[in-house]
Structures are given as structure tokens and as C-alpha cells.
Symmetry: C2
Subunit: 341 residues, 2 copies
């Protein structure tokens, strides 16, 4: 059977209090000699504290919840077969573990579930994996019943840590990259309406055009979902412009892969007839042919930063001074853009 504090205290000939103080590093309350003795017995007995008991009495659990919000309409499956998710979870778990926290992962379909989890386990903080969560969890985020971190949110709720990417710059960079390679008839693909993040990216696209005195043409904006199917549809439409469009910028690598496919099905050669730029710099950029030039938003760094801000808030009890961070992005050059010069 597992040993308890009491057992250790008896073996060491001290009170439970003293053992507790040793374990919790309150070394100013215990003599060096006692510390050593107690620690030795702990090691000998392979004592492990019962965290449920600790949690019960201290009203804190050192558990952080990673919340994956799943609206029921969505295809839960494709939602998760996603390197973004595992990279995020991996980076967050690692940082939490280094800091003595535990990671509870939970998908949530209703806001009630969230409160329940929170109070069930005295969860110390919550990290939302998907920006979409804010529609479902608007109330929750507005109230912020515990430290919360979220990504890519454009509402900047008070009291909620928010780590974003510079989405405007992302599309600015990819559009500029195409322009610098001699393109001026550049399409943009994404159903940005009602989506602040995609709208921000559209703005970056427009900004790059404007800066280079290229008129913005609404007919070059293709409002398809930034996924594979949307990309295929967009690729076909772009091909139907019979050469007028020479480059296309996107908001997702998978969408870019779809565009390549759709354009090819319509007889275009990539990149000779059409240059394509992705977004996210996923591993798949290496597997397409031509290899996909893409915008990289350092996912691991985003996860790390959000986690650190959250832990800081938990430790200090104070909301971070800079809770809204915008991470830089960069373009990763491969072979999907051809120079027209």
C-alpha cells in the first residue's frame, strides 16, 4: 500500500507538519538536519504525495485544461487529424510539466461542460486550442472565471491572454513575394466574410497591392473555404480566367494543395502557368510538387508563449502586463512561385 504523510512523519519521529514543510520546500521553517532526514526517509519509502488530498485542502490542483471546442456541426474527425493540434498539445504539455503542472485534455461541445470541468477539478487555468471557441464560449470568456489563454482571437476579451500571429503581415509577405517575382495579377482565396482573422489576411493582401500600385480587383478574390475542396474549386475557377491570373495567395497550405490540384485538372501547369503560395508552412509543403512556398507562423512558439503567460498569471495572481501578443511571421521559400522576369 502507498505510504502517507503520517507514515513518513512517524518513521522520522517528527510531525506531519514538518514533513509537509519539507516536501513543499518551506525550508525556512525546518532545520537543515531535519530536512535531510525526512528527505532520506521519503526516498527510502518511495513516498509519493496524494494529489487529490492536496487539491482538496489547498483548493488548487495544478491541473491545466486544454480545451478543444467541437461544435456539433463540424466533422470532429478531420478537425483533429491535424498536425497543428498535436504540435500545440505537445508544446503546451511539455512546458506545463516542466513547471509542475498536469495537463488535462478535453473536448467540449457546450459551455456548461467547461464550467463543470473547471469546478470539478479546481482547474488552475485553461488554454483554448481553437479560436472558434469564442462564439460558443463568449460568456465564459467575458467572465473569465480562471486564468485563460486563447489563440488568434480578435475580440481581445478583458482578462484573457491572447496570442496571435501577425495575419496582416502574413498575407502582405506572400503577396509581396509574388509581386517581387513579377506578378501583378494575383488572386486571393478565402471566405473571409465574417471571419476577422481571414479579413485581416485579406487586408495584408490589399496593402501589398496598394503599396505597389496594383489595383485591387474584387473579382480576384475567391470566396472558398481554405481547405482542400475549397482549393480545388478555386483552382478550377482561376484556370477559367485563361491566363489572366498568374499567381494566387492563400490562407492555408491545404487550400494551396487543393488549388494546385484544381488548376492542374483544368490544364494549368504549376508553377509555370500559375504560382501558388501557402500558409502555415506545414510538413506537406515538402510533399507537393512543386514544393510549396508558404508563410510560417511558429506554432510551437505561440503555444509556449501562451502557456508561459498563463503560468505567470497563475503564480503571481496578476493579469500579465502584456497579455495580447502578436507573433511575427515569415515566408519560407520553396518552388511554387516562378519569376516572370
Amino acid at each position: 500500500m502507498n505510504m502517507t504523510l503520517k507514515d513518513i512523519a512517524e518513521k522520522a519521529g517528527v510531525s506531519m507538519m514538518t514533513v509537509s514543510n519539507v516536501i513543499n520546500g518551506k525550508h525556512n521553517r525546518v532545520s537543515a538536519q531535519t530536512i535531510e532526514k525526512v528527505n532520506q526517509i521519503i526516498k527510502e519509502c518511495d513516498y509519493v504525495p496524494n494529489l487529490s488530498a492536496r487539491s482538496l485542502t489547498s483548493k488548487t490542483s495544478n491541473i491545466i485544461g486544454i480545451i478543444i471546442s467541437v461544435t456539433k456541426q463540424e466533422n470532429e474527425e478531420s478537425y483533429l487529424e491535424n498536425p497543428y493540434v498535436s504540435t500545440m498539445i505537445g508544446a503546451i504539455e511539455r512546458e506545463l510539466r516542466y513547471n509542475g503542472y498536469y495537463t488535462m485534455v478535453r473536448s467540449v461541445t457546450q459551455k456548461e461542460d467547461l464550467n463543470l470541468l473547471l469546478r470539478n477539478w479546481n482547474v488552475n487555468g485553461i488554454i483554448f486550442l481553437y479560436p472558434d471557441s469564442d462564439n460558443l464560449f463568449h460568456d465564459f470568456l467575458s467572465a473569465a472565471p480562471c486564468p485563460i489563454a486563447i489563440f488568434d482571437n480578435y475580440k481581445n476579451y478583458d482578462g484573457v491572454i491572447n496570442v496571435c500571429s501577425d495575419d496582416d503581415k502574413g498575407l502582405y509577405l506572400s503577396t509581396k513575394y509574388a509581386i517581387n517575382h513579377g506578378h501583378s495579377n494575383i488572386a486571393f482565396v478565402a471566405d473571409y466574410e465574417g471571419n476577422p482573422l481571414l479579413t485581416e489576411r485579406l487586408n495584408g493582401y490589399k496593402r501589398a497591392l496598394e503599396e505597389n500600385n496594383i489595383p485591387f480587383r474584387p473579382e480576384y478574390v475567391f470566396s472558398h473555404s481554405p481547405n482542400y475542396e475549397g482549393g480545388i474549386a478555386a483552382g478550377k475557377k482561376i484556370a477559367s480566367f485563361s491566363g489572366a491570373i498568374t499567381a494566387v495567395v492563400t490562407t492555408a497550405d491545404i487550400c494551396a494543395a487543393g488549388i494546385i490540384e484544381g488548376a492542374r485538372l483544368s490544364g494549368l501547369r504549376i508553377p509555370i502557368d500559375l504560382s501558388v503560395v501557402g500558409y502555415d508552412n506545414l510538413q506537406l509543403c515538402q510533399f507537393t510538387s512543386p514544393k510549396l512556398t508558404s508563410v510560417s507562423q511558429n506554432v510551437r512558439q505561440k503555444a509556449l508563449l501562451a502557456t508561459r503567460l498563463l503560468l505567470e498569471q497563475i503564480r503571481t495572481g496578476e493579469f500579465p502586463a502584456s497579455p495580447h501578443v502578436v507573433m511575427d511571421v515569415e515566408i519560407v521559400e520553396r518552388q511554387s512561385v516562378i519569376s516572370l522576369f
Copy 2:
């Protein structure tokens, strides 16, 4: 402040015991009338049980640990940027949640960590995400201190649930597929030595050859790691056989993608000069050109089955009658194999 059992009991004018029985569904011990009254008060007060307290007294937590073993030599990062991981975690978490369990994710580098987690939280069961874990956790698995599920393990530890794929059949299918398209000079790529899983796949390859009276040639086995870099190296070597080899079967899609790259760099046209078959049927199969024909092992189904067996063991307290399951595999046809007829 959160309500407690005691508060609810007072409001309802009953004892804590009765409230507890209502909550835990021991309805044979409470009158229907009392149940209704108590349930209503619980709802009114938005009462949520404190699971730390429950865990402390019942010596069980309803927490299941998903263990991602990370040996220090490995590149922890690439290890996780993997759709396999997120698909597994997603499927497992969902099933656990449906059954009232909580999912704790933890990466582990030393076996001590495991025991600690187990005892710290009274974890009910453990699911190992990676088969590699068995080297690191041999002792742990041999002793099985709690219900454990693992994947693709060839040792079949007593008392450990083990869900595998039919690896022999996987390579048998892909090799046969190539044979049926007129190929007889077929290479196999994987550093199978010392790896039971890959050896099993090699056996499937041999079996298909034998069955079709094609001699097995050791020089057609290329012992490279089944990753992108290994694939590139193998692709180059295969190309150096100047046309003698017309097809290659692999044990990973990423490796197949590398082979395509390496062979192309050496001047081969895919699939005209070299047909390629992948393994895992990842999403990337759609993104390569030609699209990759691959062997599919239903990952989600594997995760689900393992989880269900584990929960069964936890509930009944008895080790499942069929703890070692071998899942079927199938070939998914795309465009990376050309017919020689």
C-alpha cells in the same frame, strides 16, 4: 463560493448520504420522491461535486493517462508534429469522455515518472501512444500496476491490452498489388533489423513474392529508416540500379514521399520509371504527385478498441478475454503504381 454536499443536504432536509446516493445513481437506496427533490435542488444551486474529494475517499479518480514516451535522444518536436498523435488523442479522449472519464496527457522520459503519475492521482488506467515505450517501460509493463493498453506491441505482455495491425498483411497487400500490376522487381525499404513490427512487414513482402514464385533478393531490401530522409537516400540508391527495380514498397507514407523525391533527383519519372506504395494512408497521400497508393490501418478504430477494452477491464476488474487484437488493413488505390501490362 461553490456549494458542497452538505449545503445541498441541508437545503433538501436530508442527510449528506442521501444526496450522495442520488448523485451516484444508487436509486435503490432512495425513494423516487427524494430523488426528485434532491435533483431539483442540485440543479437550482448549480451544484458540482468536488472530484478531488471523491477521488480521495474512493481511491479512484476516473482519470486515464495517455502516455507519450519520449526518449531523450529523439527529436521531441518532429515526434509530435504528427497527425497520428492528434487522431489518437482525439479518438481516445472522446471515448473516455462519453464514459465519464478524464484524460490526462503526459509525456514521459523515465519510468519513474510513470509510477509517480499513477500514484499521485490514483490514475485508473494508462494508454501508451507509442510502441517504442516498451523498451523504456519493460518493467512497468511486465508488472502492470494498473490496467494498461498499448499499441503495436510484439511482446504481448501478460495483463496488458495490445491492439495491433496486421502488419504482415499490410506489406503482403502492397507487394501483391505491385505484382498484380506486372511488377516483379520490387524493392522493400525499412531498417527492419531488431524491429519486430518492421520485420513482420518484411515477412509480408516475402510472402507475397514467394506466393507468386518471385525469388526474394536481399539486395532489393534497402535498410533505411522509414522517414523522409531515409526515403530520399533509398530513392537515390534504387535509381542507381538503372531500371532493374520497377516498384518499391514502404512502411511509411513519409518514406514513400522521400523515395519519390530521391528517385526524381536521380532522374527517374514517377510512376513511369518507378512505382511506389506507401503505408498509413495519411492525408499527405493526396498531396504528392502522383497521389500515393497506400496501406490503411484504421487509426481511429485502433484507438477506440483499445480504449474500450481498457474501460471494460476497469469496470469489471477482469482482464479482457481477448486482450490482443489484430486489426485488419486494406490497400487504398491512387496513382503511384503503373501497370506494366
